[in-house]
């Protein structure tokens, strides 16, 4: 990276923000590491970046981390994908038929406003601590962004464009491919970005409550064991996954729907 930076004029100014960000992250970790030169280090209370890195490597090498992640990924995929299918379908119907929308809107808003995480203990008691309980929690948490965004997307379809396609002899297929899908899809993808975060909360809630494996359980267990280096490694891992998922979707939005940039 650094040897590339030298010859190019304007590299520094073009990537100024990225460089400043990287610099700040580097300073942060360096300061974290350095502070224990002056402050007594208590491994039961805090960890150091070097120790966290070691723990991360050892967890990766032993395969524990990947195992826990794989365990957690199953209910996440089930819950998230079913929330996407059901939520988008429901949202489109609610947007397309005004009366369905009128009827269901207050109920959906009611559910969305109430902290549904609060139902987690009930779901766990009812469905058990396995995949099904977690799937339902993730489904409940991540469905609402899909519903509301699909509905908003349908409302945003330009009626004029529909009429234009119709008057110019476009088929029903043209209508969907050229007008409806391009206008609804960006909303759904934006909803997915929000839903990913909520779905991850669902994974953690389910696993903190009652589980015997999974990444959330690993964090809680390492905390109980005062293995802070491993705990930080797992937290870091979740942070990376969360950022990768949300920023990945954001990037996909920018590439796939360039006309919506800036909204």
């Amino acid at each position: 990276m650094s040897d590339q930076a030298a010859p190019h004029q304007g590299f520094a100014s073009r990537y100024r923000n990225v460089l400043l960000g990287l610099l700040a992250v580097a300073i942060f970790f360096a300061a974290w590491q350095a502070v224990f030169l002056f402050v007594p280090f208590n491994p039961l209370f805090i960890s150091k970046p070097t120790l966290i890195l070691q723990a991360l490597v050892s967890l990766l090498v032993s395969g524990d981390l990947l195992h826990d992640l794989a365990i957690s990924a199953v209910p996440f995929v089930y819950g998230f994908s079913s929330a996407a299918v059901v939520g988008v379908a429901l949202g489109i119907v609610m947007g397309w038929r005004p009366r369905v929308g009128y009827t269901l809107d207050p109920i959906m808003i009611m559910f969305y406003a109430s902290p549904l995480v609060a139902l987690a203990p009930l779901v766990i008691v009812f469905f058990g601590v396995g995949v099904s309980g977690k799937t339902i929690i993730i489904f409940l948490l991540s469905i609402f962004p899909f519903i509301f965004n699909a509905q908003a997307g349908v409302h945003a379809v330009d009626r004029l464009l529909i009429n234009v396609v119709r008057s110019l002899g476009g088929s029903e297929r043209d209508l969907y491919l050229k007008v409806i899908v391009p206008s609804v899809l960006p909303y759904i993808v934006a909803g997915a970005r929000i839903a990913v975060g909520r779905g991850l909360i669902g994974v953690l809630v389910g696993e903190f409550f009652a589980a015997s494996e999974g990444i959330g359980y690993a964090i809680a267990r390492f905390g109980d064991l005062f293995a802070l280096d491993k705990m930080f490694a797992c937290i870091l891992c979740i942070m990376i996954i969360a950022v990768a998922l949300t920023e990945g979707i954001r990037l996909a939005e920018r590439v796939a729907f360039p006309w919506r940039v800036g909204q």
């Binding site: 100024r16 923000n17 990225v18 960000g21 990287l22 610099l23 700040a24 992250v25 209370f45 947007g95 397309w96 038929r97 005004p98 009366r99 929308g101 009128y102 009827t103 269901l104 809107d105 207050p106 109920i107 009611m110 406003a113 109430s114 902290p115 995480v117 609060a118 987690a120 203990p121 009930l122 008691v125 009812f126 349908v154 409302h155 379809v157 009626r159 529909i162 975060g197 991850l200 909360i201 809630v205 903190f208 409550f209 959330g216 964090i219 809680a220 390492f222 905390g223 109980d224 005062f226 802070l228 705990m231 930080f232 937290i235 979740i238 942070m239 969360a242 950022v243 998922l245 920023e247």
Partner: protein
């Protein structure tokens, strides 16, 4: 305004064209259908155990709206709700208050300084994308099971919506106004006080509204996993003893708390932005 609204709601039905004659029906339609939907939902829920005989196991997990209302009424009548509610509310209020105190100035600062923004951006992105729940075991380890762990969880949750919205609002401040104030000899503090913050107010209020939802969520999760008392603790215990009605009663109280707070923010917004239409009229 009313016209665009009518067009907007009409988009949905390509086959339905609302008769323009009965305006009253058209205006009340959404309210009637909305209220009807809730009534039907409650009625079906209430009637379900009377129509279908539930197995003994399912009955343990089943409750009816009337039972929930009864429990809720009992909790208020006997006063048993006040102690857990006040514990939860103080955690909520302290965390949200701290988030406002920290988030507002920081948001203005990164909105005004591109360098600071570029440096803090990775941290804000990372912490905002990460479910705060992940830090809960760590926070419990550091702060124990008392009030402060809860305050910190609420704080982390509520900070980012406020911070990010303040930043957005500050970025959208009118450059001309800033230049005008500058030409009259204002320093950075005056610019923030006179132009930037008042202009960012709608954004800040929207952020505050988001923050309230997250703060309530924060209280719930903090109390579920690491607290000695509070409404969330009561709900977990109730779930463990199969008092499903009590769990729902708690849920309703939490939802009520967030609705009341949101309404309060709305009132605040109306008060704070009273000057807006006046200015528009004056110019």
């Amino acid at each position: 305004m009313t016209e665009t609204r009518a067009i907007e709601t009409d988009i949905g039905g390509p086959l339905e064209s609302a008769a323009p004659a009965d305006g009253l029906w058209h205006r009340l339609e959404s309210t009637i259908f909305g209220a009807g939907g809730i009534v039907v939902l409650l009625a079906v829920w209430e009637a379900l155990p009377r129509i279908v005989t539930l197995s003994a196991g399912t009955k343990l997990f089943f409750t009816t709206p009337s039972q929930i209302a009864e429990t809720l009424w009992q909790m208020f009548a006997t006063g048993s709700i006040w102690v857990p509610l006040s514990v939860s509310a103080s955690g909520f209020a302290l965390g949200l208050g701290l988030a406002v105190v920290a988030g507002l100035p920081l948001g203005v600062l990164i909105g005004r300084s591109p360098t600071l923004n570029a440096m803090l951006d990775p941290f804000i992105t990372a912490f905002n994308a990460t479910p705060r729940l992940v830090f809960l075991p760590l926070i419990m380890l550091w702060f124990g099971l008392g009030l402060w762990a809860k305050v910190i969880v609420v704080f982390i949750g509520a900070l980012f919506p406020i911070l990010i919205n303040t930043y957005e609002g500050v970025r959208n401040a009118d450059k001309t106004l800033i230049n005008v104030v500058r030409s009259f000899g204002a320093n950075e503090w005056d610019v923030a006080r006179l132009v930037v913050v008042p202009n960012a107010m709608p954004y800040i209020v929207a952020g505050l509204r988001l923050a309230i939802g997250r703060a309530v969520l924060g209280v719930v999760v903090a109390e579920f996993f690491g607290s000695e008392s509070g409404l969330g603790v009561m709900m977990v215990q109730a779930a463990g003893q199969y008092h499903v009605d009590k769990v729902f009663a708690g849920l309703i109280v939490f939802a009520g708390l967030s609705l009341i707070m949101t309404a309060a923010v709305q009132v605040l917004e109306n008060r704070l932005t009273l000057w807006r239409p006046q200015r528009a009229g004056g110019e």
